[in-house]
């Protein structure tokens, strides 16, 4: 079945450093979503990307969908302690109308 992969599972950065993480799918995705889960919290939707090569920005966060629609990236500029949490990507497993499959997430810690 379709897999959505995020490696590594943990990353530690110094506050102010940039951070980039990637999400790779074994199959072409109709769309990809990103979620953030703060420690002790629940996943919260950040963004959805649909078009090949699409780039979207939310303040210091930049999301990109690959040209082949099989990978995506999240880049955070000048990390802050408020960025700590686990970032998940998710894509529909069996086509546009199917269930979301989540990657294992990357947990970001930021040293002040």
């Amino acid at each position: 079945g379709q897999q959505v992969m995020q490696i590594p599972q943990y990353q530690h950065v110094q506050e102010g450093e940039d951070f980039t993480t990637y999400c790779n799918s074994s199959t072409t995705l109709s769309n990809i979503q990103w979620y953030k889960q703060r420690p002790g919290g629940h996943p919260v939707f950040l963004i959805q990307l649909v078009k090949s090569g699409e780039v979207k920005k939310q303040k210091r966060l930049t999301f990109q969908f690959g040209e082949a629609k099989k990978n995506s990236s999240l880049h955070i500029t000048a990390t802050q302690t408020t960025d700590v949490g686990t970032y998940f990507c998710a894509g529909p497993a069996g086509g546009a109308n199917s269930k979301l499959t989540f990657g294992k997430g990357i947990t970001l810690s930021v040293r002040p």
Binding site: Y35, H42, Q48, T86, F88, A96, L100, K104, G105
Partner: protein, 114 residues
């Protein structure tokens, strides 16, 4: 107003007991889900209901039985609890397929089986 609410938030119980978690959403969505998040934070879908009908039923032990009395509610009943059932269970809802968009998650119900 909380969009997706779950009760209880915490549940500590002994092996072999039966427990239920309730979920309600006030977003008017047709589709609701149960996800299980283990200690490694892996989010795995368990069930999905669309307008009270079961549409996704992953490989989950039949000790887990979802029930949707109406499209705003999706409850999860677990029989004969085992140690491995300890996890955080998230309820979520989304707009109906084929408009499927973002998932709105509840705050989670942390189940600890002793």
């Amino acid at each position: 107003d909380t969009a997706v609410s779950q009760t209880p938030k915490y549940l500590v119980t002994q092996m072999g007991n039966d427990k239920s978690i309730k979920c309600e959403q006030n977003l008017g969505h047709d589709t609701m889900y149960w996800y299980k998040q283990d200690s490694k934070k892996f989010l795995k879908i368990m069930f999905s209901y669309n307008n009270k009908e079961l549409i996704i039923n992953e490989t989950v032990p039949n000790r887990f039985s979802p029930k949707s009395p109406d499209k705003a509610h999706l409850n999860l009943h677990i029989n004969s609890l085992e140690l491995g059932d300890s996890a955080v269970y998230f309820c979520a809802s989304s707009p109906p397929l084929p408009m499927a968009g973002e998932l709105f998650f509840g705050e989670g119900s942390r189940l600890t089986v002793l």
